[in-house]
Symmetry: C2
């Protein structure tokens, strides 16, 4: 059976939900609601992992109607070792149970057969020699392109075989991203070269919507770079981080979208999942009503993004 192209699935879902919002499930134990946090004397990895899964499920229930996808930053699960990875697997399953598209923010990257092993673990096996199945399978994952096409194409091929997607880092949201990504080569910064490579690698994998299953991570914290890359990469869907806690505003992400308000999804993590800590949700809901605060923050940001791009 030929699997649907991930870009088509993603854009259909965006249209249907009128949402370009991705909610990042980056659970930090010390910021969970007190009622969920294991007591100080009992902060084992297992207790922490259980608290995280409980929190994630409640957060997903709150955002399911408002988010086109959720994104799990695997670092916050790996930090807890094996128990954390069990929480990661449980969160992926809970997202599937809620019919939510789930992106594994794993930023993996390696070469050839090693990249294929990662791809098999996170997107499913590309070939017939299927390894025993993994419980880390997400609908899409992020990858690091520093190793070149040998390091990216095994992920793209596994994604294509399984109806899944990939987002390659092109321009990241952090201040020091300029150190390597903005080195100038032939009059163009490295990130533009990387963007052109990604656009080319993804072209054979375009869906009916005109976008490829190979997307790009392009930060909102450099709005000029974002607009420049959008023009250079017309067939590449963007996953845009940097909103909120990292400093970018809704107006900064408008350049990521096409004329139909499609072609990009925008991540917000801490501003949504810890919304009860900040205005106006702290006064309106407070920690006692943290799940309602999460839903309100997701609903508000969804509406602001949609309005700004339509």
């Amino acid at each position: 059976m030929v699997k649907a192209n991930f870009a088509d699935v993603l854009m259909d879902c965006a249209r249907r939900k009128q949402s370009q919002l991705v909610v990042g499930l980056d659970p930090r134990l010390d910021r969970l609601p007190v009622e969920l946090r294991p007591p100080d004397g009992a902060r084992t990895s297992a207790a922490a992992a259980r608290a995280i899964v409980t929190f994630n499920c409640a957060a997903m229930d709150a955002v399911a109607d408002h988010a086109v996808a959720v994104k799990c930053q695997v670092a916050f699960y790996e930090e807890l070792g094996c128990e954390g990875m069990r929480a990661y697997a449980a969160t992926l399953q809970a997202a599937r149970d809620r019919q939510l598209i789930v992106i594994g923010d794993v930023k993996r990257g390696d070469i050839a057969s090693t990249a294929a092993a990662y791809a098999s673990g996170h997107l499913g096996p590309a070939g017939r020699d299927a390894a025993p199945s993994s419980d880390f399978i997400a609908d899409a994952i992020t990858v690091n392109p520093y190793l070149g096409s040998d390091g990216v194409m095994p992920f793209v091929e596994a994604a294509a075989a399984n109806g899944r997607g990939v987002f390659a880092l092109v321009k990241t949201s952090n201040p020091s991203s300029v150190e390597i990504q903005n080195l100038e080569s032939g009059g163009l910064p490295v990130y533009v070269h990387v963007g052109e490579l990604v656009e080319g690698w993804g072209r054979p994998y375009c869906g009916q919507c005109g976008y490829s299953l190979l997307g790009a991570v392009v930060a909102a914290t450099f709005p000029g770079d974002l607009a420049r890359l959008r023009k250079l990469m017309p067939g590449t869907p963007f996953l845009v981080p940097g909103l909120g806690a990292q400093g970018a505003r809704v107006g900064d992400v408008v350049g990521a979208f096409d004329g139909h308000g499609l072609g990009a999804i925008v991540n917000s993590s801490r501003d949504i999942i810890f919304a009860w800590e900040r205005p106006p949700y702290d006064e309106e809901y407070g920690e006692a009503r943290w799940q309602e605060a999460i839903e309100a923050a997701a609903s508000d940001l969804r509406a602001r993004l949609w309005a700004a791009t339509h």
Copy 2:
């Protein structure tokens, strides 16, 4: 208590064992000795993971006297999901039980607090707000520098706090590494700029041996690049992949070492751990004596590397 600098520990071990050899534990289920492979009908992730740990322990017993370190390519464990990560954790513990330095080849990279979460999971917490401990702690790990210093320094700081090490990718062994790493900027390829950044980031973390706890991954498959980087990065220990299956020969790695035969460690994975499949070990040992074949291959390569650099 001030922890020993990782570079000092590594160089001391190299001198003591007269070895610069790192054995890569990259277990591929379909290449394990038949006696260890789970039967086709019972190839669950759990069975695969058990077979891998049994194999790794036997391989480590065989190479412990000949290798300065072992390196686990985490992709081959992640491929099996949670069960695979338990096998990764068990392999790290088994390496410690054998007093073997163990490198987690995880090529992680992310920004700021996310990088700190990865670092905490793989190297131990840098600060006092210690998270519940992880069972993925290795003596050193590999990281991807594409995100710049924000993405690398949290790993370096966690390594310094815990007496551990980091190897940042500078020039990788795969053919398509040239696509981004060899873009020319200001008359120099990107990998040279990255090498200079890594040398600078690591300088405050030098041990008594003159090398930093922040090392670099520099491939043997481009011997000219290797020699060039050695000159530019006098305080950075190199982890050199690419020998054997990837095409480089012992003569290609000589340029990675200083005048004392130190400053670099050289990885070989498949050529050692599956030695019974290739000449001369196939005829001399064969699959029935696979563990002896592994020991002979490690012993031979250790001796050839030491002789070529002294």
